[in-house]
């Protein structure tokens, strides 16, 4: 069964460094999402992406964040200058036309 994959599974970085989290959505899907979950807290929506542009973003998704679909398969989330509070699990999700979203296993980001 097709799956959303994410790399790396874990990333440790120093505050102020740039990180790129990678996702490979399910191949024929059209809508792409990033969510994050700070340890012990709710899963929070960050951004949705469709037709090569951002369709919605939350207040969390400020100028430090960007997303890109550089080719036909990858979907990336870049954090330009990481802060301690960016430490969280980041989930990518994708869907076709139906409402069901398929989530990847997540990337655990730790900012020191």
């Amino acid at each position: 069964e097709p799956e959303v994959t994410q790399t790396p599974s874990h990333q440790v970085t120093q505050m102020g460094q740039e990180v790129i989290l990678r996702c490979v959505p399910i191949s024929n899907h059209l809508y792409f999402y990033w969510y994050r979950q700070i340890l012990g807290q709710k899963v929070e929506f960050l951004v949705s992406f469709y037709n090569n542009e951002i369709s919605e973003k939350s207040e969390i998704f400020d100028d430090q964040f960007s997303v890109e679909r550089p080719d036909g398969s990858n979907f990336t989330l870049k954090i330009r200058s990481t802060k301690l509070e960016d430490s969280a699990m980041y989930f990518c999700a994708s869907r076709l036309n139906q409402e069901t979203q398929y989530f990847g296993p997540g990337t655990r980001l730790l900012v020191l």
Binding site: V4, Y31, Y33, Y35, K42, V43, E44, F45, S48, Y50, S55, E56, M89, F91, A93, R95, E99, T100, Q101, Y102, F103, G104, P105, G106, R108
Partner: protein, 113 residues
């Protein structure tokens, strides 16, 4: 988008028993989805119920929707230890064309063998 609130926050049962989780929301919805999250893992879609449906089944799962009370329930019958996870509802409004999901705190279900 709107957030669902799950109740109870935590539920502990014995294997073989049924587990019922509830979700309440505030405004009209197009559909409501239930997801499961095993500890530290991604969310897995369980079931979607549309606003014009009252009940839906999928294997051992039964979901009901009462739009007049703005509530939904998820019943897991004959629970297994592998059902231990957090369960979330995500109501999706009509004006949510992007289908972004907003999650509450979830119900943490523990099924003891």
């Amino acid at each position: 988008s709107q957030q669902g609130e799950e109740d109870p926050q935590a539920l502990s049962i014995q294997e073989g028993e049924n587990a019922t989780m509830n979700c309440s929301y505030k405004t009209s919805i197009n559909n409501l989805q239930w997801y499961r999250q095993n500890s530290g893992r991604g969310l897995v879609h369980l079931i979607l119920i549309r606003s014009n449906e009252r009940e839906k089944h999928s294997g051992r799962l039964r979901v009901t929707l009462d739009t007049s009370k703005k509530s939904s329930s998820l019943l897991i019958t004959a629970s297994r230890a592998a059902d231990t996870a957090s369960y979330f509802c995500a109501p999706v409004g009509f004006n949510n064309a992007g289908n972004m999901l907003t999650f509450g705190g979830g119900t943490r279900l523990m099924v003891k063998p």
